[in-house]
Amino acid sequence: MPALDTREKLAILADAAKYDASCASSGAKRRDSVGGKGIGSTEGMGICHAYAPDGRCISLLKILLTNSCIFDCHYCINRRSSNVRRARFTTDEVVDLTLAFYRRNYIEGLFLSSGIIRSPDYTMERIVEVARALREDHDFRGYIHLKTIPDADPELVRRAGLHADRLSINVELPSRQGLERLAPEKDSARIETAMGELKGAIEEGRDARRHFPSAPAFVTGQSTQMIVGADGADDRAIIARASGLYDRFALRRVYYSAFSPIPEASAVLPLVRPPLMREHRLYQADWMLRHYGFSAEEVAASVDASGNLPLDKDPKLAWALSNRDLFPLDVNRADRSLLLRVPGLGVRAVDRLVAARRLRRLRLEDVARLTRSIANVRPFLVAADWRPVALADGIDPLGGRAPPREQLELFPG
């Protein structure tokens, strides 16, 4: 095979990385390049430098080091039995590409993952070497996210943590049986052990920094991803799994990636359009867990007979409609934690309502200024000049408005 130039390799290895949902560059410790030899900064909130026509943010140079892999996971385009073109970047190529893109303000940093070649330790070493070269040889202070290989030596993971802002380990599939069937070489217990070890290392790093300001900076968070729609797991199982992962491993985020058909797919997979609406509902459910104080059971209470969240309404609205006895809430008196449960009110809106009501009694028009759509919120609230009736009458207050969404078949036959 003739040698590929960097651009051809980039086309192959970015294409291979596009199934990973995460592109976040937030949550890093603030730092900048003033007084350094190189370039780069992180300012807490990440920046999306471009958006692809799939609506997803492009924040990082997201590539694989190589798309060769000794594993044979059915859902993955890079599995060893797949017929895709293979390519491999050298350390210098990745470093140069990252810096060249960064200088032109295309990206916030690098998200590096890799197929597994030779052995997990060998692969992990190559990944760590790229991060080390960026940080130490080029004094690069931008964002680095490394994908961690669960079977790699914990010492290598610790070294990765010294250079990266975020590490992640993918749980891949929501159910253990799914993982066994679709990724026979991966072991969910091994994956979770690695996540547990990483959590310990992150806590240790934070603790060391607290006691010794001179201790080396360590990665500040870990996240994970699961593929939705490739195995039989229903939303109830996915929510329970996500909630368990948040509790046990102190994750920053769980990403849900709707399984999308891949070229050269294995025969055991469903070849349908990715369930994007389902993915969206799962993110909403995830939000309820993380920001609105719902428990996994409460979120899952609105699943239908098949165990899935209704596609036609937001799970927070579904929860509110099945708990009508709690509403309407008095916007001037209700507890903050209860206001957070009103569909249509977010954390920001609630905080501003709570601050404003200290000064005077709020009327409906005041609430309207703080929310996106007063018509959707109104049925659940009592204000100084407003008292709703629809809910009490057993009417679905928003029911008549939104027609049920349906995922149409675009390519029948």
């Binding site: 780069g40 692809a52 000794i70 200088r103 050269e264």
Partner: protein, 493 residues
């Protein structure tokens, strides 16, 4: 009518200096006319400039200054007057800004949000092009912000690209960084910026490759990346083409998938390589004690990792199987893994495990030479907020898990099997027994496998004894039991 002339569109300091005496004298907002730049002749040239009555000096909350500093960058000509009106309200009521539902507060906040968004989009969508100069490369960008944000946004580029030489050209103002000082220059035209950069081809390659045609969602893209920014972003030239080709590419992906990936051989290894690997494995196995015991134990472990004999596997992290040498003389059976064991995947590593290790040490027993396992292999717990509280395994779970412990006993054939606590005893004897009645002497196991059975307390019992004296007593008794069991195991050799 009083006229205030500010030096520049985003002249926050000028505004602040001007409002100090005006607000102190409570001049009403409608009596002030704000303008920016050179004083040219106009409608208000005859404006009065009577000396203001002196007023009390005042201070305002920090939050108001932050808001004003941002709002001043907005392009709305009313911004100076609105801010002044808000200042008078703040002087009446220092908590005025907290009333986010007030229409003036809301208008200012919306303006501040617009400015922050404009700054953010400038940080995100500005693109540098490389230019070769005698002193080395210089990076030049052309950008057209909607509001007067160039000065406010420049700090970010200084912090980020401190080690680089760069210029940002905009219609109203240009800024230049030479590695040490940020210099300002007059506005520029698009033609002053370089027309191309060869690396943009590489960037476009990346942009086209990272896009997944099966997830096409143009609205979401347009919401975050409105068309007005497109003209200065190289990659957006591809958008139309990518959208048009997406359905066909998705169909092609699905068509390519119908070739069955499963029919190819699953391994890249040749037959010779596979045999070589198998021989190496076998050689490794032979140097371990116990013939093929290790292979048997490994396959047992692999099966146990996938155990679904009872429902506990659903919520636990993993199976926690036994560990230790397969020629161990003593086999310890505990109850079930705890929180820490569940995360680590190893038995007896939590608080009870540490106490157990200490007791073994005091009894002169080397844990490395014993095999340690649990009656139930998955952690049973009740979620309590963020914590997982240990919950005692019930008879069905113990029964379901008995199979594994029997296999372990058959494989290891210890001289002595020790039940730590009631659950373990329930498991190895197959019935409920009383610890106190059976403690301190040898028993026969029902299936004759696994040598003599001994019973003692579970180390976690020692952790729960409230009284310190009794705790010491019970600990000594536990160590005593362990020492006696070790002597017995030696005697049975």
């Amino acid at each position: 009518m009083r006229v205030v002339t500010l030096a520049a569109e985003d002249d926050f300091e000028g505004w602040r200096d001007a409002v100090r005496p005006l607000a102190a004298a409570r001049v009403p907002p409608q009596d002030i006319f704000w303008r920016v730049g050179e004083a040219t002749s106009g409608l208000f040239d005859a404006a009065v400039s009577d000396p203001l009555p002196p007023g009390e000096p005042f201070s305002v909350p920090r939050a108001f200054l932050t808001l004003a500093e941002t709002v001043v960058c907005h392009s709305d000509p009313e911004r100076f007057a609105l801010l002044y009106a808000a200042l008078l309200r703040v002087l009446d009521r220092p908590d005025f800004l907290a009333d986010a539902a007030d229409s003036l507060v809301q208008r200012l906040e919306r303006m501040a949000r617009t400015v922050r968004r404009d700054i953010h989009k400038m940080h995100a969508f500005l693109r540098f092009r490389e230019v070769a100069t005698p002193e080395g490369p210089r990076y030049v960008a052309w950008f057209e912000p909607d509001h007067h944000v160039v000065r406010a946004a420049a700090g970010f580029f200084v912090r980020r690209f401190a080690g680089m030489r760069w210029s940002i050209l905009t219609p109203a103002l240009s800024v230049h960084w030479d590695g040490e000082v940020l210099a300002e220059g007059p506005g520029a035209a698009r033609g002053d910026a370089p027309a191309d950069d060869p690396l943009e081809q590489v960037w476009k390659t990346y942009y086209a490759s990272i896009f997944n045609p099966a997830r096409l969602n143009v609205d979401a893209m347009l919401k975050e990346m409105p068309r007005r920014y497109w003209k200065n972003m190289p990659e957006t030239a591809l958008v139309g083409e990518l959208i048009k080709a997406a359905p066909a590419r998705e169909a092609a992906m699905i068509a390519a998938s119908t070739g069955d990936g499963m029919s190819r051989p699953k391994s890249d290894l040749t037959a010779a390589e596979r045999q070589g690997l198998a021989e190496a494995d076998e050689a490794e196995r032979r140097i371990q004690p116990g013939g093929n015991a290790l292979a048997a134990w490994e396959s047992l472990l692999a099966d146990a990792k996938r155990c679904t004999r009872c429902h506990l596997y659903k919520h636990a992290t993993q199976t926690v199987f036994g560990e230790g040498p397969l020629d161990a003389r003593i086999l310890f059976v505990g109850e079930q893994p705890g929180d820490q064991e569940d995360l680590a995947g190893r038995p007896f590593v939590g608080p009870a495990g540490q106490l157990f290790d200490r007791a073994l040490g005091d009894a002169g027993v080397d844990r490395e030479k014993t095999y340690v396992t649990n009656a139930v292999k998955h952690f049973k717990f009740e979620p309590r907020g963020k914590r997982r509280i240990h919950s005692k395994p019930q008879a069905p779970e113990i029964e379901a898990c008995r199979w594994w412990i029997e296999q372990e006993r058959i494989l290891i054939r210890p001289a002595v099997t020790v039940a730590l606590g009631a659950t373990a005893a329930r498991s190895i004897f197959g019935k409920v027994v009383t610890i106190t009645a059976m403690r301190g002497r040898a028993h026969k196991l029902p299936d004759e496998e696994g040598g003599e059975a001994w019973v003692t307390v579970h180390p976690s019992f020692l952790l729960r004894v409230p009284d310190a004296d009794r705790k010491r007593e019970e600990y000594a008794r536990f160590v005593d039991d362990l020492a006696r069991i070790a002597r017995r195991a030696d005697a049975l050799r």
